[in-house]
């Protein structure tokens, strides 16, 4: 094993363990803002691993993107959370055992695939620093050449996301608030009457037949039975 291989191995274990441990600490710290920065640390570890794998462009893009995103996330934490600074110890979890089991199962399953699966052995050609630059240049030509369609599709999807996010987050638009239309419709007229009648015990049956024509009923009641007319007014 050459010295450079040893250095690579050491860096791999350092960054790999760092990414996993800081990813775990995201859900173990009391402070929401610190959780955001632990997640940034986890992404930085992954980005460093990508650099070790000679995907320099992707690694740096990942780190830069996550630095911006986690700063926004920290601001969101301060805005929305009751405990952004972690002054009180707290755990905000539900279905904890199920979640632990699901996480462990996902890890074991995917880890088993990684350890036991057979993957083709076609490593990168021997890389020097000049070759690393060539890899990045090849990726750039690929992005704007052969793979332009998926690349531009991702760009258009991001544009659509921007429009959708603005539409969702804007206070009020031409068609009402952003969740307009999610309200349940009013129950139909007959249904509502039926419920009202079920609510009153006395004389409920009596009114069923004539309930739909109040004016006629009133006139009828005044003619020969005062008491009934009053009862009608009370129930109508």
């Amino acid at each position: 094993m050459s010295p450079s291989d040893l250095t690579t191995d050491l860096l791999f274990w350092l960054f790999g363990a760092g990414a996993v441990v800081s990813g775990y600490l995201v859900f173990r710290t009391d402070s929401m803002v610190r959780a955001a920065y632990w997640l940034l640390a986890s992404f930085a570890g992954t980005g460093a691993l990508l650099l070790l794998l000679h995907a320099e462009f992707l690694g740096l893009v990942l780190i830069l993107m996550m630095a911006g995103e986690m700063t926004i996330m920290a601001v969101f934490m301060v805005m929305f959370m009751m405990n952004p600074a972690g002054l009180n110890p707290m755990t905000m979890v539900h279905q904890h055992k199920v979640a632990i089991a699901a996480g462990v199962i996902a890890f074991l399953g995917l880890g088993a695939v990684g350890l036991l699966g057979e993957f083709p052995e076609r490593p990168l050609p021997e890389t020097t620093s000049v070759d690393s630059a060539r890899i990045t240049a090849d990726l750039g030509r690929e992005l704007l050449g052969e793979s332009m369609l998926p690349f531009e599709t991702a760009g258009v999807a991001l544009l659509a996301t921007m429009i959708g996010a603005i539409a969702l987050a804007s206070r009020k638009g031409r068609f009402g608030t952003a969740d307009a239309g999610s309200a349940a419709p009013e129950p139909p007229e007959e249904e509502r009457r039926r419920r009202e009648h079920e609510g009153s015990d006395d004389g409920g049956h009596h009114h069923h037949g004539h309930g739909h024509d109040q004016s006629h009923e009133h006139g009828h009641g005044q003619d020969h039975d005062h008491g009934h007319g009053h009862e009608h007014g009370g129930h109508g």
């Binding site: 992707l58 905000m92 890890f107 880890g111 969702l168």
Partner: protein
């Protein structure tokens, strides 16, 4: 540094993300869990590109697409959090258990 070790690290990141996304009550913490899952997926994709593609640049396209997925998820997640908070005054999942009418 071997492909197996890299894939185990990626699986660990994904597992932690699954745990976080299922267990956390706060919407923003759930988003963090989802991002950790995508993080593991990116690491696994680039590891396989490193070990098995012979350096062809097409392999890195998958990672580029995954990063776009992550950006879309974050942007729509934040927009939804803002909207739910504005209308329901809710920042935890338990506060939106019931549909309003």
């Amino acid at each position: 540094m071997s492909l197996q070790a890299l894939l185990v690290v990626a699986a660990a990141l994904f597992g932690i993300g699954v745990y976080g996304a299922l267990s956390q009550q706060s919407f923003v913490m759930i988003m963090m869990g989802l991002e950790l899952m995508v993080n593991g997926a990116i690491l696994a994709a680039v590891s396989l590109w490193w070990s098995s593609s012979g350096g062809s640049p097409e392999g890195q396209m998958l990672a580029v697409v995954l990063m776009a997925v992550m950006a879309v998820e974050a942007a729509m997640g934040f927009a939804l959090v803002i909207n739910v908070y504005r209308i329901r005054k809710a920042e935890m999942t338990e506060q939106v258990e019931e549909l309003e009418r």
